[in-house]
């Protein structure tokens, strides 16, 4: 048995039209007919032949993703935010978690040198740029990030294992921080100045505008820089609009106008290589308009506050002490496909790991005290300890 024939190659995401060094096969998992060392260089070489722009990831159905700035969120959404989509975040009036999402999104764009348009209802939106986080330490010290392709996960007493000496290499050509797709942002340290100055950052205040015509024009001129056509992408753009229907804005009672702005933004974004993130507090809209806005979104998220010192919740969930809020994924964008994205879980807890890094975790039930409840709810496997019933075979 040729062990080298059984070497697994890490699946590389690539566009179908990319010239592939393995004839007849487009990005599938098949053993190469060459030796491993050349296989590894082959894969890196094939990566480099793609017009590799840092910050872009190629996904299925011809979609190109940009990172949201939160590694967990990228994983949940299947790669990130697809270019050409409109992401809406429903705020909770009682918690500022949408700002965390926006900060990571904007920082990620600046680190990847993607132009940014930021609109907010404050008088001086530029001040917000000072609160953007900086990329934290590299991924080496994160023990929770286990690599599923790593064969050390399953230890088998197999006598042919000793032939597998050179098996454990990683195709981590992207370890270099500059080319990392998604950074882990340290919310305690502000972004370095060189990322902010000299960049294409446009800040708009929507506080005093009587209608949305000015904002619409700014968005249109911004998006004109990233037209979508068949040529390769030079760069992608990011738009972030914070608290779009904030009550202190003069246009905030013009509900139909706001809706038509969102609709026109969505249509222009579709034909651009950009992503727009719009946050809004749905409690300040009338219910029918809140529904309409939610339908406009390609990807719909919502953040919610959690009660403090709630004993019931602390009993129900593990890790309640570290949680700062909840994130719900209502809709995930599926462009160019009719297959919907169905997630295992739609509610995630927002935690700040070491008070710095934003982490999303699925909600886990706290272990039920085995003396009180029935045992079948407590553990997943365990045939040995359950009482033998009539179904014992």
């Amino acid at each position: 048995m040729d062990s080298k024939a059984w070497t697994l190659i890490k699946l590389i995401n690539c566009r179908p039209d990319v010239h592939n060094h393995w004839p007849g096969v487009a990005g599938s998992r098949e053993p190469p007919l060459k030796s491993e060392s050349t296989a590894s260089t082959l894969s890196t070489k094939s990566l480099l032949t793609i017009t590799y722009t840092p910050g872009l990831k190629y996904g299925p159905n011809g979609t190109i993703f940009i990172s949201s700035g939160i590694p967990d969120l990228d994983k949940i959404l299947g790669g990130g935010f697809p270019l050409g989509s409109l992401v809406m975040v429903m705020e909770d009036a009682e918690a500022p978690h949408h700002m965390l999402l926006l900060r990571n999104f904007m920082s990620q764009g600046l680190v990847h040198k993607q132009p940014l348009l930021y609109a907010s209802p404050s008088k001086d939106p530029k001040g917000f740029l000072g609160t953007l986080p900086t990329p934290g330490a590299s991924k080496d010290d994160k023990s929770r990030d286990h690599d599923p392709e790593n064969e050390n996960g399953l230890r088998i007493a197999w006598q042919y294992k000793k032939y597998f000496g050179e098996n454990q290499h990683h195709f981590d050509s992207n370890r270099d921080v500059k080319h990392e797709y998604c950074h882990d942002f340290d919310l305690r340290k502000p972004l370095e100045k060189h990322f902010i100055s000299g960049q294409h950052i446009d800040c708009v205040s929507i506080l005093d505008s009587p209608n949305l015509a000015a904002l619409r024009d700014r968005c249109a001129t911004f998006l004109a820089q990233f037209p979508r056509n068949d040529s390769s992408i030079s760069s992608a753009g990011r738009i972030s609009i914070q608290s779009f229907c904030a009550p202190q804005c003069k246009y905030s009672n013009m509900e139909w106008d706001m809706l038509s702005f969102i609709r026109s933004l969505r249509s222009v974004i579709r034909s651009s290589n950009a992503v727009a993130v719009v946050t809004f507090p749905p409690s300040l809209l009338s219910p029918s308009f809140s529904r309409r806005w939610q339908h406009m979104a390609d990807t719909l998220l919502s953040v919610r506050a959690i009660p403090d010192e709630d004993k019931e919740m602390a009993k129900l969930l593990t890790g309640y002490q570290d949680m700062v809020g909840l994130l719900n994924v209502h809709k995930v964008a599926h462009i160019n496909t009719q297959v919907p994205v169905i997630l295992d879980a739609t509610t995630f807890s927002i935690k700040l790991q070491k008070r710095r890094f934003l982490v999303l975790e699925s909600l886990n039930q706290a272990p039920i005290d085995s003396s009180s409840g029935t045992s079948y709810g407590t553990s997943a496997s365990c045939s040995g300890s359950s009482k033998s019933g009539t179904l014992d075979f």
């Binding site: 009550p247 506050a305 040995g384």
Partner: protein
């Protein structure tokens, strides 16, 4: 909890943050919002006079009562209004909010303008102009505390009155400007929630960092009182109610507290609730999964467990334990073969696997006859 609110208003704002803002909200079912407002006003005033608070002055924007009413009230509560150091200013929006009296007097030839020269009150004749209102408040405040970095508090008597004359977005703009002004220490206002649409109440709650709502003791459907309650009992319960507060904390969590209050002879007393109704927020958690991930500590412990079939490098052949107690030879290795749960022994550095066998009658496992492929 009235105490916590008083403390929050007293402590004021941190550098670079918006000032804490409180909405007091009541309804016709339990219309004691004004009592709460005056209670907080007197508490804050005594704190200011005793120099216990961050702010050194208070600007009271009076819409629903005249300034003299407030001065009397404060005097009755034992707070020295006419003290040597000026600490309170009242912006009088009650007497002539739209400037009609002025216009009337001016149209009557030569009529003298009656100036409201009461102590500590300045008149506002145009409440429709939010910018003017804002600048008047700030000016008055600076008049009390001077030009330095000292802050002052703002109390708005009734937001409903402003909303009669101005749109909610301009009022929201006024409130957010006041909050973000770095001379304002804290701000609170009263609103009667049934005078407006829900959206207005939602906006006011959005703009504030604390929301105190006053509710009757017995919440009957549609606010109608139960028919079988006797009239004296109804009247007795009318003066009592529940005081719920929601604090928006800096870390994004919401602190919910409740108290009972009792109004007697225009004084309001708070006491904590005897029986707690636990509101379980089950609605927030639709699908909760079991934790299949391992924490760091658990991962380290798992790595320490010696698996049975692997060579440990000692050169000894490994016996496969089948769970029967009959195995007598002592083992220097750990017990092998596991069930679903791995448990670790704190004392030894090696992990242990604990295997509980179903019964001794079972036929031997296939473990005892391993494949040729396996490396044991």
């Amino acid at each position: 909890m009235a105490e916590s609110i008083c403390r929050a208003l007293r402590d004021g704002a941190l550098q670079g943050e918006h000032a804490p803002a409180l909405t007091i909200k009541d309804s016709i079912a339990s219309p004691f919002g004004f009592h709460v407002f005056t209670h907080l006003l007197t508490q804050l005033s005594s704190n200011i006079l005793a120099a216990k608070s961050q702010s050194r002055g208070l600007v009271l924007v009076a819409f629903s009562r005249s300034p003299s009413f407030y001065l009397d009230l404060l005097n009755r509560k034992g707070i020295d209004v006419a003290s040597s150091q000026k600490w309170i200013e009242i912006l009088d929006c009650y007497t002539d909010p739209l400037g009609w009296k002025d216009a009337l007097l001016a149209s009557e030839n030569g009529g003298s303008l009656s100036n409201e020269a009461s102590t500590g009150a300045s008149l506002c004749r145009n409440v429709k102009d939010m910018d003017k209102l804002y600048s008047s408040i700030i000016e008055l405040g600076k008049g009390i505390v001077g030009q330095g970095k000292v802050r002052f508090c703002v109390a708005i008597d009734s937001v409903n009155e402003i909303l009669r004359h101005a749109s909610i977005s301009s009022v929201a703009g006024l409130l957010s400007n006041l909050r973000s002004n770095d001379r304002v220490s804290s701000i609170f206002w009263l609103s009667h929630s049934d005078l407006h649409e829900d959206r207005v109440t939602a906006v006011l709650e959005y703009m504030s960092s604390m929301v105190a709502s006053i509710e009757p003791l017995n919440q009957s459907a549609n606010g109608r009182r139960c028919n079988w309650e006797s009239l004296p009992l109804l009247e007795h319960n009318y003066w009592k109610g529940r005081f719920h507060v929601r604090f928006k904390r800096r870390n994004g969590r919401v602190r919910v507290m409740s108290e009972e209050f009792h109004v007697e002879q225009s004084a309001i007393n708070f006491r904590s609730i005897s029986s707690e109704d636990e509101i379980v927020n089950r609605s927030l958690l639709p699908k909760v999964q079991f934790n299949l991930q391992l924490s760091e500590k658990e991962q380290i412990d798992r790595a320490k467990v010696v698996l049975p079939f692997e060579h440990q490098g000692t050169g000894k052949p490994i016996q496969i334990y089948d769970g029967r107690r009959s195995l007598t030879d002592g083992k220097s290795e750990t017990e092998p073969v596991s069930t679903g749960i791995l448990q670790t022994n704190e004392n030894s550095s090696k992990g242990e696997i604990i295997y509980l066998r179903d019964s001794d009658d079972e036929r031997p496992d296939s473990d005892e006859d391993p494949d040729d492929d396996l490396d044991i």
